[in-house]
């Protein structure tokens, strides 16, 4: 009788703190950017309670799983490893540079358990992982990496047990994808540069349409056609993905055929730079401003975006929405540094009127031209890699 009663009591003491602490618990693996700091304060309590009651249970890693994640907005990839552990642990990590780049993570308070000794990855973010016991109750993970990491490229943190959602205590390792150090050896100036300009939409696809019926495809073509002679005068070789009001692939082609036809123009012509020109739109007419987007695939994409944005934003006189990483098809599938500019909101009546003027279109062409010139000068100074 005593025994049963005591078991019930200890079980209750064991479970109740978890129930209470869970109210402030984690959003689990569903939220890849969960910050460890949020969990830190009550970590000690859980550990104390569990170590008292759980002395005889084996403290070990019970499972390891991993997945590649692509940020819905920026398109940036990361590898997330999640290890389930039987009881709370603490973690420490360090980067090792030789003989090959490695990330070492020590999990203190749990042995390796029955998980595998080695794991293989696809090599984009990590090559492999080895799991070893490092003394009593500590597990050491060594990840082999294709490229050296900086401190800001990875995060190791713990998530408390979440019994309501059947989640044990977890260790999470997030590793962001490094930009490959591709050498381009850009020279200063626009002379002999191959530049592909992509006037957004066209033909059967008007793009966004303003309250005054202005079509995005008309403005994007007008700016590209004003920009082309400016670049050519400086000695650049310029291709437009379309020279008139047409679909690049063909009328009413699938969206993906249309987009890949545009990236093909840049890739086949071995362009140095790809600039896609667009006009923005939103359901609320107050949205306004000018923005430049890039996809982080070479060490030069963000530089190209900031060179152009810092030139077009002041020239436009519009709200500066800055440069942003974006998971856009045409800047992702072109192999050279690429940007997509959004020259104002067609859904904003004031900006719609403005973008119809020859003055604004010429100003945009002129300032993109100056931004490109600035880019090549800066890229040349940087040399090949960064």
């Amino acid at each position: 009788m005593h025994r049963l009663v005591m078991t019930i009591i200890s079980l209750a003491i064991f479970l109740l703190p978890l129930q209470v602490s869970n109210a402030a618990g984690d959003a689990a693996v569903g939220a890849p950017d969960a910050k460890p700091a949020l969990q830190a304060p009550s970590l000690k309590n859980d550990a104390a309670v569990l170590s008292k009651l759980d002395k005889n249970a084996k403290k070990q890693i019970t499972a390891l799983r991993w997945a590649n994640h692509i940020d819905a907005v920026t398109g940036l990839s990361k590898l997330r490893l999640v290890l389930d552990v039987s009881s709370p642990v603490t973690v420490g990590s360090s980067i090792i540079g030789s003989p090959v780049p490695q990330l070492s993570v020590d999990i203190k308070g749990a042995g390796p358990g029955d998980i595998k000794n080695t794991y293989e990855f696809d090599g984009r973010i990590a090559e492999s992982l080895t799991v070893t016991a490092a003394g009593a109750d500590t597990t050491r993970l060594i990840m082999q990496l294709p490229l050296m990491l900086d401190e800001s490229d990875y995060k190791v943190f713990t998530l408390r047990a979440d019994p309501a959602n059947n989640k044990p205590f977890r260790v999470v390792i997030d590793i962001g994808q490094k930009i490959p150090p591709i050498k381009f050896n850009f020279t200063a100036g626009l002379k002999d540069k191959v530049i592909v300009l992509d006037p957004g939409h066209g033909g059967s696809d008007p793009g966004a349409v303003g309250p005054g019926k202005t079509m995005e495809k008309t403005i994007t073509l007008a700016v590209a056609q004003r920009l082309k002679p400016l670049l050519e005068k400086s000695g650049a070789k310029v291709f437009l993905t379309r020279n008139d009001d047409r679909d690049v692939f063909g009328p009413n082609a699938s969206a993906v055929d249309e987009l890949s036809a545009r990236t093909t123009v840049a890739n086949n012509n071995k362009a140095d730079i790809f600039v896609s020109i667009h006009i923005n739109s939103f359901t609320n007419p107050i949205a306004s401003g000018i923005a430049t987007y890039y996809y982080q695939k070479t060490p030069y994409d963000a530089l190209l975006a900031s060179s152009i944005q810092s030139s077009i934003a002041p020239a436009s006189g519009l709200l500066n929405r800055g440069i942003n990483a974006a998971n856009f098809y045409v800047i992702k599938r072109t192999v050279m540094p690429a940007v997509l500019t959004e020259l104002g909101f067609i859904s904003n009546p004031d900006e719609e009127k403005l973008m119809n003027t020859a003055d604004f279109q010429q100003k945009m062409a002129q300032s993109i031209y100056l931004g490109l010139d600035k880019f090549f000068n800066q890229a040349a100074r940087l040399g090949g890699g960064q």
């Binding site: 109210a23 693996v29 569903g30 907005v73 979440d162 987009l259 739109s281 939103f282 359901t283 098809y329």
Partner: protein, 192 residues
């Protein structure tokens, strides 16, 4: 014996508490989750159910009027066995907070939603493309609102957007949505 009775009484008390805690566990996943979302000025509980019914809390994302950010809006609705579908349906209705803008095009309807291997396959009708007002800002907000709303559920790690049952490469010609996408924290407005 008196000692045993005292212990038995204590055990019964504890048991009652446990039962209460377990009953609480039967609420859908989302009920725990929304409690963890840090409170903010723009968050508010709406559609309060009549007293006596156990509500579940669902977080959906709507846009700021300048098309820069998403803001979470917490709804309290009657409990059901398909909270993820309910979340998408709330995303397809106008925000309770009039300061916010709904991002999915008018006429967009949820056709189906299944979850396999922690990936939610969310199928919309073709109005999500045909009634799209265009602009990359709009497309970013649509994709992020769908992905962030569904990844509020602990068992959904990624979201694959489908249109009329098929994978599409893009919705309005900018974003690449041909593969399952994970949550984007950067577009959520901070420090409101």
């Amino acid at each position: 014996m008196a000692h045993t009775r005292k212990l038995l009484f204590l055990a019964l008390m504890v048991l009652t508490l446990l039962v209460a805690a377990c009953a609480n566990d039967k609420t859908p996943d989302i009920s725990k989750l929304t409690e963890n979302t840090p409170p903010s000025a723009d968050q508010q509980a709406v559609n309060q159910p009549p007293t006596g019914q156990a509500p579940m809390r669902i977080t959906v994302y709507h846009a700021t009027p300048d098309a820069m950010y998403l803001v979470p809006e917490v709804h309290s609705v009657d409990k059901n066995d398909h909270p993820a579908k309910t979340a998408v349906e709330l995303l397809l209705t106008d925000p309770a907070n009039k300061q916010l803008t709904r991002v999915l095009p008018t006429g967009t309807k949820l056709k189906n939603l299944t979850v396999r291997d922690h990936i939610a396959y969310v199928d919309f009708n073709d109005k999500i493309i045909k009634n799209n007002v265009g602009g990359s800002a709009t497309e970013i907000l649509i994709v992020a609102a769908v992905v962030n709303t569904l990844t509020e559920f602990p068992d959904i790690h990624k979201v694959q957007i489908l249109v009329e049952g098929k994978t599409v490469e893009t919705l309005s010609g900018h974003m690449s949505v041909g593969q399952p996408l994970s949550r984007s924290e950067g577009i959520i407005k901070k420090n409101m």
